[in-house]
């Protein structure tokens, strides 16, 4: 086997490697853009129906009512 010049081999690896990495990522970027467009067109995300905050206060009111009822019940028991 003939003597390999390490540095020049390494430089070749570098050129090949960086080219492949960049081609891979550039194509990936394009695919991501296309994908975003297609998905946006055919599967638009449904706006999640956000219930107004009344529900939260409802919940709080209910909790308060339950607590009150339990306290009353315990009081009557004793």
């Amino acid at each position: 086997m003939e003597e390999i010049h390490l540095v020049s081999e390494a430089l070749k690896f570098m050129v090949l490697g960086m080219i492949v990495v960049f081609i891979f990522l550039v194509v990936l970027v394009q695919l991501m853009k296309v994908q975003a467009k297609l998905v946006g067109k055919y599967f638009p995300e449904k706006k999640p129906v956000t219930k107004p905050t009344v529900q939260a206060t409802d919940e709080k009111a209910r909790t308060a009512a339950i607590i009150a009822a339990i306290t009353e019940f315990n009081k009557n028991k004793s």
């Binding site: 390494a10 690896f13 550039v26």
Partner: protein
């Protein structure tokens, strides 16, 4: 104070050591009695019994090393590796314990690795042989490159590609940072060609340079494929430098950017559709199949983990990958890698070379990422803070956190974390691709 802590840590290391040594001595002496019984046990005086017992102790093995003692792999160990080398390794392991416990440097991996190293350096017990615990673990999943892939699966299940999908072009920053790998490949080649300090082959250079990808599992995967003899040093270098990201990166980031650039505020990202996230791993797999089948083990398991997470129907599996599975594998991976920290393998001049090149690789990757981000900022219609280029080295999510920290130091309230996550996860893909290229060259 620090010295005191270190001292305590070392004492702890030695205490553990002596306990383990005793345990292994016990096992050893039992084994020998069994053998001698089979050989016909001869009666002997208590004096000669004591002397014979002393011959089986670790104390003797370290203080009076014998010529021709073999290590777990059946190779002869030098006197230095048996005696003083072991003591040096115990000190190094003590330092690793200190870094892991007191400094919180990647403790999840450094601690098992260091403990594996401790066990691997115990004389006589030969835990790294094919029948020893460490040897079994090593053959089970490191020699055949299996454990790093399981880790990658878990990492995939933890990764959210949302930030990348919302701003696809930041993926290129993850590509630029891979210059760290190939730049240090040239550096390693130059080091062994011109200085004569070390004598690396091209395969070894490639295995070392992958440290620049800042990705532990990928480093271990490539090292065990291309240069298993350097695995211990490469893994220790990779994980130590990953832990040092908050120390290594900020000065480079500041040196390469102006104050105005660091203060750039980026626009908030759009919300990503769930279907996009679901399709993304499949797109990546498709690309890998077409361009670089050699990277499929890494990218395939990564994509599987991510697909399982994004599918939303197999939460049980995805939780398993993110938690129990990755934890179990981390234990095995750490101990297995630690088994390569035996004194006769680790205390060689190559280790020093690997440490130097690893640091170079990390810095080059960071610098390339930042420079690329500067260029993108010039030619892009929307502002890009060059700091996020530093997150192109894959150390997820540490590099992104460091970027965010530096950014908010420059301009309080400027949160770059989500913007930096894009290049960060692209860096994982980028280094897996770079690894695939290196593997394909040596096929």
């Amino acid at each position: 104070m620090k010295v005191k802590k270190l001292f305590l840590m070392l004492m702890l290391a030695f205490a553990t050591l002596s306990i383990t040594v005793q345990a292994s001595e016990h096992a050893q002496s039992e084994a020998t009695t069994e053998v001698t019984e089979e050989k016909v046990y001869e009666s002997q005086g208590i004096g000669s019994m004591l002397i014979n017992f002393y011959d089986t102790t670790g104390l003797k093995a370290i203080i009076q090393p014998q010529e021709g003692v073999k290590n777990g792999q059946g190779e002869e160990m030098s006197i230095f590796a048996q005696g003083f080398g072991r003591i040096m390794m115990f000190i190094i392991i003590g330092v690793l314990f200190y870094l892991a416990i007191s400094k919180n440097f990647e403790p999840l991996l450094l601690l098992p690795i260091a403990f594996g190293g401790l066990l691997a350096n115990i004389p006589i017990a030969n835990m790294t042989s094919d029948h020893g615990m460490l040897g079994i673990i090593y053959n089970m999943g490191i020699a055949n490159e299996f454990f790093p892939l399981l880790i990658f699966m878990g990492v995939g299940a933890m990764t959210d590609f949302g930030p990348l999908l919302s701003r696809p072009k930041t993926a290129l920053l993850g590509g630029a940072a891979q210059f760290g790998i190939f730049g240090s490949l040239v550096g390693a080649a130059a080091l062994s060609q011109y200085t004569g300090m070390v004598d690396f082959t091209l395969k070894q250079c490639s295995a070392i340079s992958i440290i620049g990808g800042a990705d532990g599992p990928t480093s271990i995967f490539i090292a065990s494929a291309l240069a298993p003899e350097l695995l211990g040093a490469i893994a220790v270098a990779a994980y130590s430098y990953m832990a040092l990201v908050p120390v290594i990166q900020p000065p480079i980031m500041r040196a390469l950017t102006t104050k105005e650039e660091r203060q750039i505020v980026m626009k908030s990202t759009r919300k990503v559709n769930r279907i996009e996230k679901l399709l993304f791993p499949l797109v990546v797999i498709a690309m890998t199949i077409l361009v670089l089948p050699d990277a499929t083990p890494l990218i395939g398991s990564f994509a599987f983990g991510n697909f399982a997470k994004e599918s939303g129907v197999v939460d049980r599996l995805s939780n398993e990958m993110q938690n129990s599975l990755i934890n179990i594998v981390t234990i095995f991976l750490g101990l297995g890698v630690g088994s390569t920290l035996a004194s006769d393998k680790f205390l060689v001049v190559e280790t020093l070379g690997i440490m130097i090149i690893g640091l170079l690789a990390f810095s080059a990757g960071t610098a390339a990422g930042v420079l690329m981000a500067k260029v993108m900022n010039k030619y892009s219609d929307e502002p890009i803070n060059p700091l996020i280029g530093a997150a192109g080295v894959s150390a997820v999510p540490m590099a992104a956190r460091v970027v965010s920290k530096v950014g908010s130091e420059e301009k309080p309230g400027n949160i770059l974390l989500m913007h930096a996550m894009g290049p960060n996860v692209a860096g994982v893909i980028g280094s897996a691709v770079a690894a695939g290229v290196l593997l394909s060259i040596f096929k």
